[in-house]
Subunit: 274 residues, 4 copies
C-alpha cells in the first residue's frame, strides 16, 4: 500500500512530534529539524521515511481513526476515541447504516461515525452554529469522509429531515431538546446515544427518554488508564483523564397504546434502569 | 426494516429475560411465560411484539454488535465489548481491511472484527484448538458473519498464511509466540494489538514488540462503570468489573538498518513508552 | 502482649473462616471443625494457636481497627474502612479531640472515630432510631470503646448539646438537616465531613455548607482495587466495589459580617469548589 | 481554642494561596498582598483573620494532618494522605503503639504515624541517607511531633534495634531488604505494610513476606477522584492522579514448626492471596 497524492499521512519527527498532513506534490513544510517536501512521500510505502533538508528522518505512518479524531482542528471539546468507539459498538452502527448526529462540534465523532458506516452509509450531522459546521466540514474533508457525511445547520428542536434512521447520537448541552426529534426519526428497534459531562444532564436526559418510550436505558462512563511498561519497573502512569462524559443509551420500540387499557401495566413502558 | 426468516432477533420477555434467536418459520420455543412461535416475527418491524400462547408480550429488537458478542456460546473467557471497540478504533480497522486474529476463543472478538471489515473485508482467525474453532464458527455463523471470516487451525509459532495485512490482533496466553509471525504478516504502517490479563504478560509482550521493531507501543486498560440514574437518586452502581485485560498497541515500520551505522542511534528503534 | 480475659480476639480456622470473639473463661464455641474453648486463649501471645476438640488449629490474631469495623452486627449499610480512614485524616481527628457524629447507624464509623480520639477524647454520636443506637452501643462496647463514646437519641434538626467541638461528621440521608446544628457546635477552624451515596445529596449538601459559611469545601470519592499477586501472574482482581459514597469536607470560619459592607466581596464567603 | 506562639497555623490569602507557618512574635512575612505580622495571630481563635499592611484579610486555620503532610519540605516523593490513612487503619495503629518505619524520606508518613500513636506512643524511623533524615527531622519538628519520633541512620539490611513492636511500615525501593528485620522486630500478631509503585516490587515483596511466614497478605491500590460540585453542573473533575503506589499488608504469626511434621501441611504457612 503506497502513498498517493492527496492521502492524509501521519508524519513523525525523530523527537516524536506528530503531524497529520495531506501529501501534495510540491508542498513543503518547515519544521524545527529542517524543511520537508511532502511530495517525497508519494509512492513510498507506509512505515518508510522521508528526510528533511538537514538529513533528519521523518517517519511516514498511516493515520488510524484515533489519529484522525485527535488531530481535528478544534473549536469545541472533542469526543474522546474511547467514548466514540464504545458508542459505535453499543448502538450497533455498521457499514451501510443511516445515522443522525446532533451536535457536530469539531466533527471528531462525525469522522468516527462516517468511518463506521463507510463505504455506503451516511451520517446526517446537525449543528446550530455555522462557524462550527464550517470547521467540522473541513476536518471531515481532510479525513476523507466527505462522501459519507451530510451536514445541516439547524437547532435540534426544529427536527430532523430523515426518517427510519438506524441510530441517533446526541451531543448537546440539553440532550432533551433532541429527544422528540430522535424518537420520530428512528425506526423501530433503532438506538439512541447521548453524551453529557454532568450528572444533572444525565438525570434529565434519562427522564426524557423514558417519557418518549425508549427502553433498555443505560448510563455508564469509561475510564482509560495508561500503563508505563518497562522491564522490572511496570506501573500505571502518574496522571490520567478522570472524566470525559457520561454515555446514555436507549432503544426505540413501537408503541402500541391501544393494546393496554392501563398504560402503566405495559412492562415495556417502565424499563428498569437499576 | 422488517424481520425476515433467518434473521437473528433479540427477544425480550416482559420480565426482562433476553433471548438471541434465529427466526425460523415453524420453530417454537418454550419459555417460563408460555410458548412463542418464532415464525410470528416474520414480516414484523423491529420494536414490535409477538405474544406467547399465554398472551404475554415479547419484544422484538434488532441485536446490536454488543448483543451478538455477549450472547455467543462460550468455551473461553470472552473479550468485552469495551475492549473490542477500543481495539478496533485504535488500530484503525475499517470496512474492506484484511485482519488477522490469533486466538479465536469463543469468537466474540472475531464477530466484532468481522463487523468492522464488512461487507468486503476478511478476518483470518487462528486457533490451536479444534473444539474452540468449531464453537466459534457456529457463533460467527449465527451472528451472520461467515462471509467475512476464514478460520484456521494452527499454533501461532507456525506463522500465518497472509501477507501485507492491515492489522494483527493477538489474544494468546503467550502473545510473544505470535509476534514474529505478526511482524512478517503486517504491511508497513500496519498495527498490532495484544490483550493480556497480567502485568507479566504485558511486560514480556512489550519487550518482544520492541525487539521486532514495532514503534509507538502503548499499554492501557479501560474501566467501565455503570451509573444508576433515577430522579433525585443518581449514583454509580455498587459493584463493577475491576479488570478484563490490558491492551497493548504498536505499529510496524520498515526497518532500514543499512541507513544507520550505530543501530541504537536510529530514533525509531527505541520508542519511548513513558 | 498476651491475651487477657475480656479481650476481643480474631480467631481464624484452618480454612480461613474468621470469628471476632471476646475471650471468656469457660466459654465454648461450636465450629464446623469441632468445639473450641475460648479460655484456652488466655495467657497466649497473639499469633499463637488454640486447638479444637478435633485437634484442628485455630489462629489467634489481634483485631485491627478494620476487623472491628467490618465485624459489627449490622442494621444498616456500614461505612467502609477506606472512607473512615480518609475522613479521619482529612478532618484532622486525633487523640484527645471532641467529635460529633450524626447518624450512628451500626456504629462502625463510631468505632473508628473513638479509636482516633482515644484514650482521652470523646465521640458524641446521635441517631434518631433507638433500635440502631442499641445495636451500635453493643458493637462499640464489644470493640472496647465505651469510654470514648456518648450516644444520644435525637434527630439532627433538634441540635447538638455540645459546643466548641473539633469535628462534626454527618452520615444522614438529608445531611442538610444537620448542617445548621453542626455550624453551631463547631469551634472556629473546626471541620465538617458528610458522606452520601448520591450526586443529588452531594449537590444539596454543598449548597447548604456554603450558605452556612463553611469554606474550602471539597467533594471526592475513593475507589479501592485489590491486586491478585502471584509470581508471574499478577493482575487486578476481577470485580470490585464500584461505589460506597461521596465524601464532602468543609471548614468553619468565624463570620465577621461587620467588616465588609458588601458581603459578596468577602472572599471567604464565596469559596471556589472547582 | 486560641492560637499560641509556636503553633503551626495555616494562613490563607484572599486569593487562596496557603502558607503553613509557625506563629512567632515579631516575625513578619512578605506576601504578594502586602506584609503580615505573624504575631498578630497570637490570642486569636482559629477561623479568624489577620490583615496585611495593605489591609488584605488573611484567614487563620488550624492545620489538619493532611495540611501538615502535604506541606513538608520535600526531598523525595511523599506518601499521599489517602494511602497513609488507609495504612494506619488497616494495620490498626493507635494511640500508645510502638511502630517502626523504614524509609523516612521527607517524613510525611512519619508525621501521620506519629499523630496516630500520640500522645504516648513512638515511631522509630530509619533511613540510610543522612540528608533525608535531617530534612525529615525538621519537618517532624515543625509539625509538632518530635516527642513521638526517634530517627536513626541505618540501612534496612542491618536490622532494627526494637523488639516486640506493633507494626512495621516499609517504604523502600527494595522492600524485601527490610522484611527479615521486620519479621524479627514484630510481636506475634503484629502487622506489616509496604508501599511500592511498581508491580514488580509488589510481586517480589509478597513472595518474601510468604517466605518469612507472614499471613493474610493482601495488595491493593486506592484511587482518589474529586467531584466538582456546582448546582446543576455537578461532575467528576477532568484530571486525577492515576497512581501513587500499591499497598501490601501482612500479619505475623508465631511459627510452631515442631507441631507439624510436614511443614507444607500447616495451613497458616501457605496463605491464599487470591
Amino acid at each position: 500500500m503506497n502513498i498517493n497524492s492527496g492521502d492524509q499521512v501521519l508524519i513523525i519527527s525523530p523527537d516524536d512530534k506528530t503531524f497529520l498532513l495531506t501529501v501534495t506534490e510540491g508542498k513543503k513544510m518547515g519544521t524545527h529539524l529542517g524543511e520537508i517536501s511532502l511530495g517525497d512521500a508519494i509512492g513510498k510505502p507506509y512505515g518508510d521515511r522521508i528526510y528533511s533538508n538537514l538529513e533528519h528522518p521523518f517517519l511516514l505512518l498511516e493515520p488510524t481513526l484515533e489519529d484522525k479524531m485527535m488531530k481535528v482542528k478544534r473549536h469545541t471539546q472533542i469526543i474522546y476515541p474511547k467514548d466514540a468507539a464504545f458508542i459505535i459498538l453499543k448502538t450497533g452502527i455498521q457499514s451501510g447504516m443511516r445515522v443522525i448526529e446532533c451536535g457536530t462540534g469539531s466533527g471528531s465523532l462525525t469522522i468516527a461515525l462516517a468511518n463506521a458506516v463507510a463505504p455506503n452509509g451516511t451520517v446526517f450531522t446537525y449543528d446550530s452554529r455555522e462557524k462550527h459546521l464550517e470547521n467540522a466540514r473541513m476536518n471531515i474533508e481532510n479525513a476523507g469522509y466527505s462522501n459519507n457525511v451530510e451536514s445541516k445547520l439547524r437547532v435540534a428542536q426544529n427536527g430532523f429531515d430523515e426518517e427510519g434512521v438506524d441510530v441517533v447520537i446526541l451531543d448537546l448541552p440539553s440532550p432533551w431538546d433532541g429527544i422528540p426529534a430522535a424518537a420520530k426519526a428512528l425506526r423501530g428497534g433503532g438506538r439512541i446515544a447521548s453524551l453529557s459531562p454532568t450528572y444533572n444532564q444525565v438525570e434529565k436526559c434519562v427522564e426524557n427518554l423514558e417519557e418518549h418510550g425508549f427502553v433498555y436505558i443505560e448510563t455508564m462512563e469509561l475510564l482509560l488508564r495508561h500503563i508505563r511498561v518497562s522491564a522490572g519497573k511496570t506501573r500505571p502512569v502518574d496522571r490520567m483523564v478522570s472524566h470525559t462524559g457520561f454515555l446514555t443509551f436507549g432503544r426505540k420500540i413501537l408503541s402500541k397504546k391501544e393494546e393496554t387499557i392501563d398504560e402503566s401495566s405495559d412492562p415495556f413502558r417502565a424499563p428498569s434502569n437499576s
